[in-house]
Symmetry: C2
Subunit: 256 residues, 2 copies
């Protein structure tokens, strides 16, 4: 995907191809997380044994925040497909800006579902991925690193809804303008929902999880990710939150 | 692998199981890198358009160094299976130490092949993985992030040779003591080489790359990693450098 070519970014087929690639990334990241226990202390605010000096948050928050600060200096969040978890903490780039062309509406950075994604990830996704519900102290760093990768890939997937929404708006401007003027949320949801595409996604995920989730040279080996769980995560979390992003984006689209 | 249980860490079967798991991680990381072009400027010292203030190194070096600093504060490099690329830049942990039991010889941290790994990765591995040999400016951050993951997984795999060496020493102390006293490098190499195991690794990698490297729902899709390249990388780089680690570790083993 080349963000210097707005027409190509707003081509729905290109967007779908990119979403398909992201599925692999998300599955690989989930598999990497699945080797570890839940490690609830990693997510606990100011957990006593790993309390971080001068910081009010969890071990994961600290690691994620520090990482975002470094990446922001490398201009990560200038890119329209990247959304920070700590928008108040990131810094200005220390290398020259890339001057991306405008593709999304100007309020687009205000649409940020990362807090919600992080909460649901911790509460609902981690328990489905990890095999044991204990704290293994010697893995906290590895766990946080895997969580960061998983969260970033989920965040990128879900906020890609902005491109989907913009593309759909540009394809049918009159229809969407009417729905937006009428504040017809149900109508917008109906207009952006394509059940056939959703069915295909879930079907594809089932196959991918079956293939990627088991060592092909050791069929008796542990299954690293359960296809039904992956489907459940997409069906109940990823797809619905992506739609929330799309709806919020579209509802404001006439501001721009 | 539980580094609080030295007996289990030095069990050769457990080590091999861990090495098998690392293969998947390395392959997944290679696949993630394969989506991008070579981007040689990412590796160039003080590349003009992305020159980092007050830093004498490449874009990748800066990102890797900053990341290691953060992780060192979370006690990453206390763990005997983690080896820093910037041992002079890392900091003390800011959370309580874990006090790992001693498993490896006391000089073990001095054995660090990361400079070599980084050089060979840039020179020989990146060209095999990426599809086009150009600079795509808008991907430098993503590329560096993928490189960091790939380098860390290679580093962990290769330095795991220390555990292999220690386990082999403890299994046959007289034999190795004699070889070490005689400074018989060829003899040590022969003693640690198991061609049958190596053949099995290469065979397994071939299968894994074939299965993981193509989208199972789109057989006409692009192949993301070429099995022969993966085998070549292991045969010519990963396995030989792991042996160098083992030999260097063993040659000093009587110091301890
Ligand atoms: N496995 C150790 C060391 C480690 C690996 N990756 C890390 C990243 C951050 C901090 C520590 C680590 C841990 O989880 O603690
Ligand atoms: N894709 C953009 C943004 C980005 C993604 N991940 C990053 C990590 C660091 C810096 C930037 C990024 C780039 O490669 O530049």
């Amino acid at each position: 995907m080349d963000f210097f070519k707005p027409e190509s970014v707003l081509n729905l087929q290109n967007i779908r191809d990119e979403l398909v690639k992201m599925e692999d990334t998300i599955i690989f990241n989930f598999i990497e997380r699945s080797h570890f226990a839940t490690c609830s202390s990693v997510y606990e605010r100011n957990a006593p044994e790993i309390k971080l000096p001068d910081f009010d948050g969890s071990f994961l928050d600290w690691a994620l925040m520090k990482m975002e600060v470094v990446h922001s200096q490398l201009r990560r969040f200038e890119s329209p497909d990247e959304t920070p978890f700590f928008p108040d903490k990131i810094l200005e780039p220390i290398i020259p800006s890339l001057n991306y062309p405008k593709i999304l509406a100007s309020y687009s950075n205000e649409i940020n579902y990362n807090d919600k994604i992080k909460q649901i990830y911790i509460k609902d996704i981690v328990p489905l991925l990890s095999k044991r519900d204990i704290n293994t102290w010697e893995n906290f760093g590895s766990v946080a690193t895997r969580d960061i990768e998983a969260l970033q890939s989920l965040s990128r997937r879900i906020h890609f809804g902005k491109f989907v929404a913009e593309a759909k708006f540009q394809n049918e401007p009159e229809k969407f303008t009417k729905l937006i003027q009428d504040k017809d949320v149900d109508g917008i949801v109906a207009a952006i929902t394509n059940s056939e595409v959703e069915e295909k996604i879930l079907h594809r995920l089932n196959i991918k999880a079956s293939v990627y989730g088991v060592d092909p040279t050791n069929e008796k080996g542990d299954r690293k990710i359960t296809p039904e769980y992956l489907v459940k995560i997409y069906e109940e979390i990823v797809i619905p939150i992506t739609k929330e992003v799309e709806v919020e984006y579209l509802l404001r689209r006439l501001e721009d």
